[in-house]
């Protein structure tokens, strides 16, 4: 049975997803608040999996909270923290609890996070995880054993259209499609011309592409992102635009920019939708959508 998210992807309508960052601790009030705020505004919500290698409440826990509150979750699953047994087990569990969408990620490196001495697992990579999902769907596990009850997922992956050099990324993008990725949520994009070039390439494949929209909160943050976050490039004109905003208005300018980008992507049918990442400011997602005309 197709998930709500998959139905939306196949409907031809412009699909909007957003992201929920689970708490560092057991206080899940804020996460619940964000879920309630967004569950009817977006088609589905990703729950990040120890984003930036920082230990947090688990993605599967956030997904169950979304289910309980009537939303549609997308389970983010990184290969950094679990070996192939643990990854498969979690997929079985997620399925039995009604989680039907999975985003397969390699995961950030351990030393960038807050447990710098931990052992990075990377037993599988994102491609191998995608293929594992398709294998579990056939009723087999990675050991070649029969399952007593299989799974069925809408499985996706990420792509970084601003990566430098881009060619190896595009090659991996194709490989991800070959092993069964149905949708892609991209790393943050800011240069729409560059993104259009990527989409021209991506359109030869029958996969759905949701452009990553990350809220810029200030000129400083934009500059930091472009200088320090791999795969993110913020053009100078956007940094200037944020810098020129009146004092205290930079955040509103960031919301306006994000909204403007979403509206432009929709207007020209550049891609199949957007994935909005407010990174800890999830309460601003409705404002971004309003700025985009939704």
């Amino acid at each position: 049975m197709a998930t709500r998210f998959k139905e939306a992807l196949n409907s031809g309508k412009f699909v909007i997803t957003s992201e929920i960052g689970p708490p560092k601790g057991t206080n899940i009030e804020k996460m619940h608040h964000h879920i309630d705020l967004l569950k009817d505004r977006v088609v589905a919500m990703n729950v990040t999996d120890h984003q930036s290698s920082v230990m947090r409440f688990p993605s599967i826990g956030g997904c169950l909270a979304i289910k309980e509150r009537g939303g549609e979750p997308i389970l983010q699953m990184t290969c950094r923290d679990r070996n192939r047994l643990a990854l498969q087990a979690e997929l079985l569990f997620a399925y039995t609890r009604g989680v039907r969408n999975v985003l397969c990620l390699t995961g950030d490196a351990v030393p960038v996070g807050d447990h710098k001495e931990a052992k990075g697992v990377f037993d599988l990579d994102s491609l191998q995880l995608l293929r594992t999902i398709r294998l579990l769907e056939s009723g087999k596990d990675l050991g070649g054993n029969d399952l007593d009850g299989a799974v069925e997922f809408c499985a996706g992956a990420i792509v970084t259209p601003e990566a430098n050099p881009i060619e190896p990324q595009l090659l991996k993008f194709e490989k991800k499609i070959e092993v069964g990725a149905e949708f892609f949520q991209t790393q943050a994009i800011y240069d729409l011309d560059n993104f259009a070039k990527f989409m021209k390439f991506a359109r030869q494949f029958s996969v759905k592409i949701l452009a990553g929209i990350v809220l810029l909160t200030s000129a400083r943050m934009a500059k930091y992102m472009t200088e320090n976050v791999p795969g993110i490039f913020v053009p100078q004109n956007l940094i200037d635009e944020l810098a020129a905003a009146p004092k205290g208005e930079a955040l509103n300018k960031g919301i306006e920019i994000a909204g403007r980008m979403i509206a432009a992507l929709k207007k020209d049918s550049v891609c199949d939708g957007v994935h909005v990442m407010a990174i800890g400011r999830e309460e601003l997602v409705p404002d971004i959508l309003a700025a985009a005309g939704f």
Partner: protein
């Protein structure tokens, strides 16, 4: 070049030698000499520092290759000084430490940390080339090992963290998969990279590793 080593901090060496006042020092004429961690000069320097610390250095030697069979002979030749010591401080990689331990009942203390098996790309600059994983993929990766050169050991291409051809973990380090891509492209063999690589068999490296050659 094989074993790449670095000297332990003198504080750690001092700690390990606590209660052991008479020290015999062994260096190695091969890898530890080339990495300047356990050659003639470093052994002399270590002796001086130990004496400053109040230790009695009963003698020293630099064995041509501490991990081979000559070690037993060298130890026998220095029997007297070794017998009068309370411990042996070995300035070689862990192979040499093990080899010395085979022939001596006294405490054998390593003065170096063994880091990896590597090559010297320019004088004084060493990099790991092999993780001894037990199943070599160099044929598909244009001679660059993604298990050692990629921080995440990825087999199917670069992660999203690669930036301007550098690694997200260390921006001074080239992204292994960018290098692999470039080299395969130059060889007209990009199809190697397009091929899906299944999950690695990590049991190809038995633990502990042993092999019997018939």
């Amino acid at each position: 070049m094989k074993s790449i080593t670095k000297q332990k901090s003198f504080d750690e060496i001092k700690e390990q030698l606590e209660g052991l006042d008479k020290v015999y020092v062994i260096g190695c004429g091969t890898c530890a000499t080339m990495t300047k961690t356990g050659g003639i000069e470093e052994v002399q320097c270590m002796k001086d520092r130990l004496q400053e610390l109040g230790k009695i250095v009963t003698g020293s030697t630099v064995i041509p290759t501490a991990c081979d069979e000559m070690t037993e002979v060298a130890l026998k030749e220095n029997n007297g000084a070794i017998n009068s010591s309370s411990c042996i401080l070995v300035m070689s990689c862990a192979l040499g430490v093990h080899k010395v331990s085979c022939y001596i009942d006294k405490p054998v203390i390593p003065a170096l940390d063994t880091l990896f098996i590597g090559l010297e790309d320019e004088p004084g600059n060493f990099h790991e080339v092999c993780a001894q994983c037990g199943h070599c993929v160099l044929g598909q990766t244009a001679g660059i090992c993604p298990l050692t050169a990629c921080h995440k050991g990825l087999l199917n291409g670069p992660c999203g963290g690669t930036n301007k051809g550098k690694c997200e973990v260390d921006i001074t380090k080239d992204c292994a998969w960018t290098l692999i891509y470039q080299r395969l492209e130059a060889q007209g063999r990009l199809d190697m990279m397009r091929k899906y690589q299944p999950p690695k068999n990590f049991q190809a490296t038995p633990r502990p590793r042993t092999i019997k050659i018939a």
